[in-house]
Amino acid sequence: MKQLWKDFMNGIITENAVLKLMIGLCPVLAVSTTVMNGIGMGFATTFVLLGSNLTIALIRNIVPKEIRIPIFIIVIATFVIITDLSMAAYFPGLHKALGIFIPLIVVNCIIMGRAEAFASRNTLIRSIADGLGMGIGFILILILLSGARELLGKGTILGVSLPFDGFEPALIMILPPGAFFAIGIMIAIFNNLFKLKSNGGHKHGSS
């Protein structure tokens, strides 16, 4: 149980993919113009991550080593297409807003990275814990970043205006430069808060 908790928290803080490992950045910056888009992208990615981690952990012993990468790619792409089609059917608005970034989940390095580094070497239950942790870590970053951008750039949160007047939104925050600016500041804050150096191996704050 303790091991599972550790696997889970690993993805949220210690090895947070975006802030710590600088991977999975593309969708984070691209869709974080509103909190709704951010949450949608977070859940879509988590679903694919869980599905691929689960499948790969299940078949890890019967997959020949030489062709494991193409097989992982097929597994991941399958879950991505399922997500794409289901979102088009049940969440058409979100599907349209995220557009090309839904099929691009397939090249999100987080998913391939976890398949190769974790799920292909660990038990089913630990791979699920790892997938959940990494997914939630990813969702949290998306919520934080899109929250900051929507608030500063539009003056709203989840489409709801602030309860007071007098705040003039800075449009640039929802334009491309705002995304780079916001993630830069965010990484700086986290680095200084947790004293995580971007390439160090320290383990902190697992509570």
Partner: protein, 188 residues
Amino acid sequence: MNVLRLGFILMLVGAISAGGLAFVYFQTKPIIEQRRVAELKLAILEVLPSTISFQELNNSELKPLDDSAMTITNIYLGFGSEENPVGVAIKGVTEEGYGGPIVILIGISIDNKITGIEIIEHRETPGLGSKIAEAPFIGMFLSKNINDPLTINEDLTAITGATQSSEAVAKLVRKVADYVLRNREAWR
């Protein structure tokens, strides 16, 4: 021998995946199609409020606009109770937007009034050009007659800081209005 075995395994995995996906595809296809139709119906009702049923004109009946940057993609004839025509909803696209093409659905009633405009797709700058999709701008067109000038700086005002986006929309509406004036007799 080993290559054959590996190739076979890879093919098997690919086949399982493709089979599963085909299943999901055929499950979701009708729903996606349904949503698309419902969305279209809603959009037409939005721009042509008294519509009860509508009928799309054939592609072959579409005549090109006299401007290479603009095209009419679909024409829907709207009918009210007892199959009386109430007007047309015309979907057009202009390449003259600031950030890319702008797709618009324009409703024009049988007595030549603009009953509604909906911006279906655009890539204008958020916060500036994107205001073409908002009520203050769209509202200027409502209830105007298609014989009115429908021109920026005459009976319409451009959005501050987004002159090009405003003009792209106004110009497309003007061209569609001309098109309706030319062809309206054929649709009665």
